[in-house]
Structures are given as C-alpha cells and as structure tokens.
Amino acid sequence: MSTSRKGEPIIEVEGLDTRFGDNVVHENLDLTVKRGEIIGIVGGSGTGKSVLLRTILGLKRPDAGRIRVFGLDFSTLPEAERRLNEQRWGVLFQDGALFSALTVAENIQVPYREHLDLSQELMDELAAVKIAMAGLRPTAGTLYPSELSGGMRKRAGLARALALDPEILFLDEPTAGLDPIGAAAFDELINDLKETLGLTVFLVTHDLDTLHATCDRIAVLAEKHVILVGTIDDMLRSSHPWIHEYFHGPRARAALAGK
C-alpha cells in the first residue's frame, strides 16, 4: 500500500445495476469519488441514494457493474483482508443504528474491542473525546440509545463512525432531525475532520445548507443514474428541470441568501 495522494480516485462505481425484484433502482450508474473531497449525493426520495450507499459498502450485492473502494474490489477480497479494509471506513446510517444493548460509550468502543488491543482507561478517554467531538453532552456516554433523542442518536452514531479515524466517512442524511445550530456545528465538524484527517466524505443529504457549507462536489441521482457531477456552480448553471428546481427553488434561494 503506497502512500496515497489527495485527488486520486478512492471510490469507483462503474456500470452499476441494482434492482429489488422488478423494481430497478440503478441502471448503468457511474460515479467516482476522489480522495480528500466531500461529495454530496442528492436526489428525490426513493431515487436510491441509501441503496447506492449500501451497495458500495457491500451490504447489497450489485446486479451488474463494478465497485472499487481504495482501489480494491471488496466482493473478490479474501475474508480477512476485507475485514481489515472495512476498518478504513466509518458509516452513519440514516437512523443511527446504534446497538441498543450497549451504552453510547460502549457503542463507540465496539470497534476498539473488536479490532484493537487498548487499555480500558484509554478506550474510555477516546470514547469521551469522540462524544465531545460529535457534539454530545459529556454525560451522554453512560446513556442507552433508547434514552436519547433522535438528533442525539445521530450524533452518537457519528461518534461511533469516527471511532477508528476512518479514511472515508459515509453519512446518510446526517443533519436531518438536527436543530439548525446543531446542523451548522455538524457541517463545521465535517469540514474540520476533512482538513485535519484528510477524510473523504460521502454525504447523502437533502440539506441545502449542508451542501453549500461542506461539499466540494455534488452528484445528482435521478432517472436511475448519476445525471450530473460538479460543483455548486455547475448545479446552478444546469438546465436539467429537476436540478434547476432543486437549486433554484424557494428553499435553495434562502440557503444561498444565507451564505
């Protein structure tokens, strides 16, 4: 594994088809994500953003096409190597997906326990750091997921995703359900992490403010594939009706005005 450079492709999706029975979700979808960038994935509800994320993570088998992450095709990797490389990404699912039998701190420590050999003292300290980083109250560490609000669950999920300082962070609608101040802090956190850790972020979102505040590039999912990838300015210039509506609608104007 040679030292990797910023800007080289880190996720490559080529000719991806996915379907559930007769329901074709993706058809011939191509997408390349570069190392060190924050890419926003947008698209209407049900266009398959979450499914794309799950497919890249190997949780759903593609029906055709090729997916490479870190230049590796995970579906052909031997078990041991796949596990090792899976530690290089962190995932925040749409509703947090915390383990309900464990406290927040224990949730964060799961990857430490599974993959590393750390003293309890150090694990506790690191869990506390991640909890603070994700913007949770310090006392949240001892709580169980059922004792948290929706927004807090999301933050706790983020703290767990960050546990191993991953190279890629997959976020499925991270700011949905957060208060505006919290959402802004979240945007800032993502930017900080990208700068300090050279993190690549795959961000599924409907939040126009987040798109403006964080994303280097945006990929638009519609008509079963990625119809446009580019910067915010590219989006604003596009004449595709859906993209135009999305980035020039009343909410988009408000988000832009706020800049």
């Binding site: 594994m1 150090l122 560490g141 300082d165 190279e167 900080d192």
Partner: protein, 390 residues
C-alpha cells in the same frame, strides 16, 4: 499531509509509534516519532501516563512532533492530555515541529476540554444484590397493578364493542384465528396423537400386571378429555401465539407505531388487542376439541395393536367410560386459558420500552408467565370441579 491521509490499516511495515524522553537543564524533552495512529498507541499511552506522573525536577517541557508520520485523533487526545497533566505539575509546555494539520487537530481536541468519565461509578456487590431484590419486588407490584388495569381496559373495550358491534375489527380477528388456530393444527395434532399413543402404551403395560388392561381405555379417555388435551394445547398455543403477540405488539411499540395509531384517532385496544384476545378465545376450544380427538385416535391405535381391541369396541368403551362432563370440563376451561394467554401476551407487548433487547425479554417473560398461569388456573379449576362434584 501525504502521510496523514494514509491510514495503512494492516500495513505492518509501518513504523510503530514511539517517543524519546530526556531531561536536560530542567527541560523535559519528548520527541514523538513514527506512526501515531490508534492501532499502535496502547503501549505508548501507558508509558506516557507513568512518565507524566513524575516528571522529575523539570520546570519546562518541549513536545516535538516533527518525526511523526501519521497523527490521528487518538494521538491528539493522548498528546493534549499529556500536556495538560504536565501543566498541572507546574511545567511550562511548548510544542515543536507541529505541522498545520496536527495543529488543527490538537486545537480541535484541546477545545473539547477535559473528557468526562463515560461509565457510571461501580456499586458494591451487596448493594447491587439488595437493589436487585428491591427492584424486582417493586417491578412485580407495578406489573400486577398494570396487568389489572389492562384487564379492566380490555373488559371495558369488550363492553363497548358489544354495545356497538360495528367497532369490532373483523379482518384482524379472522387473520389471527388463522395464524393462531389453523396454522397451529399440524403441530397440535401430531403432538397430541403421539402423547395419546404413549399414554396408552405405558398404561397398558402397567395395567396388564393386574390383568386390568381393558381399563387402558378409561385411562386415556379421562386423562385426555379432562386434562391433557387442553393443557398440551394451551402450552403449545402459549409458546406459539402468546410469544407472537408480544413480539408483534412490542416491535410496533418500539417503532412508535402504537403512538402513531393513537394520534390518528385509532384505539390500539380495538385495533390490536381485542381481535387477538377474541381470536384466541374462539380458537383454543376448537383446537382443544381436535386435540382430544387426536389423543383418542393415538390411544386407540395402540389399543388396537396391543390389546387387539377393534375400533368399534374401543368407541363403545370410551362412551361408557366418560360422561358428558368429563369432556365438558376440558372444554369449559379452554376459553379462560385462551384469555389468560392472549392478555398476558398483549400486555407484555405493550410493556416493551425503546430497545430491541426489551422485545426479547418481554417475549420470554410473556411465555413463561402464561404457561405458569395456565397451570395455576388448571389447578384452581380442579379444586372448583371437585367442590361441585363434577
């Protein structure tokens, strides 16, 4: 930046984290080197904790990071804690050779402040035991109250439904009759058939010693029609349907579906509870009847082979052995047991709190409780029927 962006998971060739420490002219120098990523930090962390606890006669500390190839948040947490501890000991701490990215990260972690403890302080064992006992007692009392309240609410719902039969949900009622009744048929038939055969075979062997093997028929008929047919069926249904009720209602509770129902003006009592209770109350007697028949068939088969008794004679002897009430006693108990199983199952489902674990716990306790109550109820009925001489 180049070194920072590669995580090198599993790259064992990466130089592990290390540091050199030395004191000269009352200056403590800490030179960190290598890959300071979480994978390699456990040992360094322990050593640093010890070092910092007794920094000797130094009054200034210099932490150098120029030789560090990778530096992640865990490293930043350790370094900034080390610096904070040294300052507590009265040292002035300076950093050297800190890259811009490392600086950002240290700032970020430093700005979070002192980490709080993430686990509750341990409680002594004897207090834990006492606490557990107290908690369990209180929980039992609370549960008994809640169960009574629930039964009351169900009775009120039944009353309302009788007054206004259009409230009754026919579709879920039929659905649950199918799921808890019809679908249970194969299992109930097979088990009662086998038990009938086993009882007959054992009975025949024992009774033959007195030359009284013809009474095998009485044994099977009375035991099955009065007790075993119903008890077996009730226990099977408690395991199959009682648990299903709890799990279904419990996961709906967990996903706030029941709250959603209430806000839409739907009464979960009407929608979920009553159809289940009613369905089980109807199906358990039917299942019991079939169980009785299958038990007798199983017994008859054994009697046919072991005692050479023809089916015609067997049927006549069964008729002589049992009066209507032997059979009636079994059937009369069935709806009560059905109601107990359904009420316990539904109530346990409603008692589920947020977590998936609680669905599992409530399902287990619902099955245990309903089987326990079924057997207690059977004993009470036995006392009652003895008292009234049936």
């Amino acid at each position: 930046m180049a070194g920072l962006s590669s995580r090198e998971a599993g790259n064992e060739a990466a130089e592990p984290a290390s540091y050199r420490a030395g004191i000269e002219n009352r200056v403590l120098r800490l030179e960190a080197a290598g890959n300071w990523s979480i994978v390699h930090l456990n040992k360094v962390d322990g050593e640093l904790r010890r070092l910092v606890a007794s920094p000797g006669e130094a009054n200034r500390a210099v932490i150098g990071l120029s030789a560090v190839s990778r530096f992640d948040t865990a490293a930043a947490a350790i370094i900034s804690r080390t610096a904070a501890r040294l300052e507590e000991q009265g040292l002035r701490v300076e950093f050297e050779g800190v890259s811009e990215a490392q600086h950002l990260l240290l700032d970020k972690v430093g700005s979070l402040g002192e980490p709080e403890p993430v686990r509750r302080p341990p409680v002594p064992a004897y207090l834990q035991i006492l606490g557990k006992i107290g908690e369990t007692l209180l929980a039992m009392a609370a549960e008994a109250r809640a169960m009574l309240g629930f039964v009351g609410a169900v009775i009120v719902t039944v009353g309302r439904t009788i007054a206004n039969p259009r409230r009754f949900r026919l579709v879920p009622f039929v659905h649950h009759m199918e799921k808890s009744g019809f679908d249970a048929l194969p299992l109930v038939c097979l088990l009662t058939f086998l038990i009938g055969a086993v009882v007959a075979q054992q009975g025949a062997v024992q009774l033959r010693q007195f030359g009284a093997e013809v009474f095998t028929v009485n044994l099977i008929a009375i035991i099955f029609l009065r007790e075993v047919g119903l008890l077996l069926t009730a226990i099977i249904v408690a395991g199959r349907s009682g648990s299903a009720f709890t799990a279904e209602i419990g996961s709906m509770k967990m996903r706030e579906e029941i709250d959603a129902m209430r806000t839409l003006g739907l009464d979960p009592m009407d929608m979920l509870i009553l159809p289940r209770v009613a369905a089980l109350t109807v199906t358990l007697p039917l299942l019991t009847f079939i169980a009785d028949v299958m038990g007798l068939v199983g017994g008859g088969l054994v009697v046919f082979f072991m005692l050479d008794m023809s089916p015609g004679v067997y049927i006549t002897r069964v008729q002589e052995a049992v009066g209507f009430w032997t059979f009636g006693v079994g059937l009369v108990k069935a709806p009560f047991m059905a109601a107990v199983i359904a009420l316990v199952g539904c109530r346990a489902g409603l008692a589920v709190t947020g977590s998936a674990e609680s669905v599992g716990a409530m399902t287990t306790s619902s099955v245990v409780r309903s089987i326990f109550l079924v057997i207690i109820l059977d004993a009470l009925f036995a006392m009652f029927f003895t008292a009234v001489d049936i």
